[in-house]
Symmetry: C2
Subunit: 272 residues, 2 copies
């Protein structure tokens, strides 16, 4: 089986579109602002895809350029602007700026990427509000395909603050037995082959072939790597798909992530 992120993404986007229409009847236009300080190519590509989704779904989108001198003032300005519902602080922040300090200032109700300490802490407390989009997308893709999580052995490879760590907490709350692996893990293949559900998110192109995976497992590929101009995941899809169910890259979790971000903007309207 292939876990198709596009089908789920489209379902979420239809729901968002409906919600945006309801809000417009009430005179509310969901509004997203991106604080941007870098202009590298991958940021540009990402921002264009967000803008494209916003335009399609009726969300008011704009970018605000910032720098190390203005970033704090800009966050405060967006916090205080009642017309702005969602704010994204684009990574990387300007040199010399402490990213976590700036994140801590952002109003958690506008934190559509779920990156503030308060929103991350709410995941630990099992009262999630705005959740990091990729971690949330992985969970929803599993649920969309009715993958049993209760008692399942889940191995997550990667311990980032945006994916591995929050995802481990979300899956614990769904009664999975979760192991988090990373670069310092000693016998990684033992941990991946033990998994009923394997999630990989380390950015190593096609590293995981069939030899890493248990027969019949569910594999969620969160890697996004560009190799010779082509986007590939951390999983060797052709090899693994003969033995296990896998999400595609592209067309897997990434597609759902974008839809979840749009839904978080609509959710932020209700939080304010």
């Amino acid at each position: 089986m292939v876990l198709d992120g596009v089908a789920l993404a489209n379902k979420i986007k239809r729901e968002v579109q409906k919600e945006v229409k309801h809000l417009k009847i009430k005179g509310i236009i969901p509004t997203l602002r991106c604080l941007v300080s870098s202009n590298d190519r991958s940021t540009r590509v990402y921002l264009n895809s967000i803008k494209h989704n916003c335009d399609k779904l009726g969300i008011d989108y704009a970018e605000i350029g910032t720098d190390s001198e203005n970033i704090i003032k800009d966050v405060e300005m967006l916090n205080n602007d009642d017309k702005v519902h969602g704010v994204m602080l684009m990574h990387p922040v300007p040199e010399g700026v402490n990213e976590i300090s700036v994140l801590s200032m952002l109003d958690p109700k506008k934190d559509v990427e779920g990156r503030t300490p308060e929103n991350l802490g709410k995941i630990l407390l099992n009262v999630p509000s705005l959740v990091p989009c990729t971690a949330q997308a992985a969970v929803e893709l599993l649920e969309y395909y009715d993958v049993p999580l209760k008692g399942a052995n889940v191995t997550i490879v990667g311990r980032s603050t945006t994916v591995g760590k929050p995802l481990s907490l979300l899956l614990m709350s769904r009664d999975a037995t979760v192991t988090v692996c990373h670069s310092k893990t000693r016998n990684l293949v033992e941990a991946t082959k033990h998994a009923d559900v394997l999630v990989v998110a380390i950015g190593k192109p096609q590293m995981f072939d069939a030899s890493w995976v248990k027969e019949g497992a569910i594999v969620i590929d969160i890697g996004i790597n560009v190799v010779n101009g082509r986007v590939v995941g951390d999983v060797d899809f052709d090899s693994v798909s003969k033995k296990a169910s896998v999400s595609r890259v592209p067309g897997g979790v990434g597609s759902v992530t974008n839809a979840v971000l749009m839904r978080n903007v609509v959710k932020s309207v209700q939080l304010i």
Copy 2:
């Protein structure tokens, strides 16, 4: 080997005592307030031990009785009182009160138990500030005995918001490969026998005997159970100590927890 919590607790308390003296020279008396709404026996025993420690170390301690009608007002009053550095919201809160909502109102800088969403989120972001005392105590006991954590397979049994979940994040940041087990875990003994470091925190008196533990492992017992008037842990100490290094109950993590709480009060002075 027996992991002795009392030795470490005394070391921490000596440091706290020194710090309290320094603060007094500057005219600052570290001040802790406990918001109490229940008067059951175990709460009373716990509060008495905190008071005892505060008195010994020179920390100003008082209890404030509260109820469902006043609890929010009382939290605000303590947030705004510059003379109060640390606040504990005693569990359980009055019936009908949403504990997490009240916790979310508490000033994170005064949250000496590390229970607010913001402080828990900071653990996930690997910028810990005030950390839940028991989770912190377990880490410090491991570090006090130079237990190698980098690459170690750690199994935590119990996924509470005060121990299992924050401890899993703290140990991930120290490069351990962490598995969190709980009541829905399928093959628990497989997970515990796999562990170089086993942490148990589920409140089942002496459940874990030698058959659950790998030869030479380090076992941290966080259970506190009263059986026939005697306090015992989740570990069958006599059985496991023949095969592995174990922390005692009492005299293990619990002792360190109390000392960490005192240190958090002093830390909260510096945060305000």
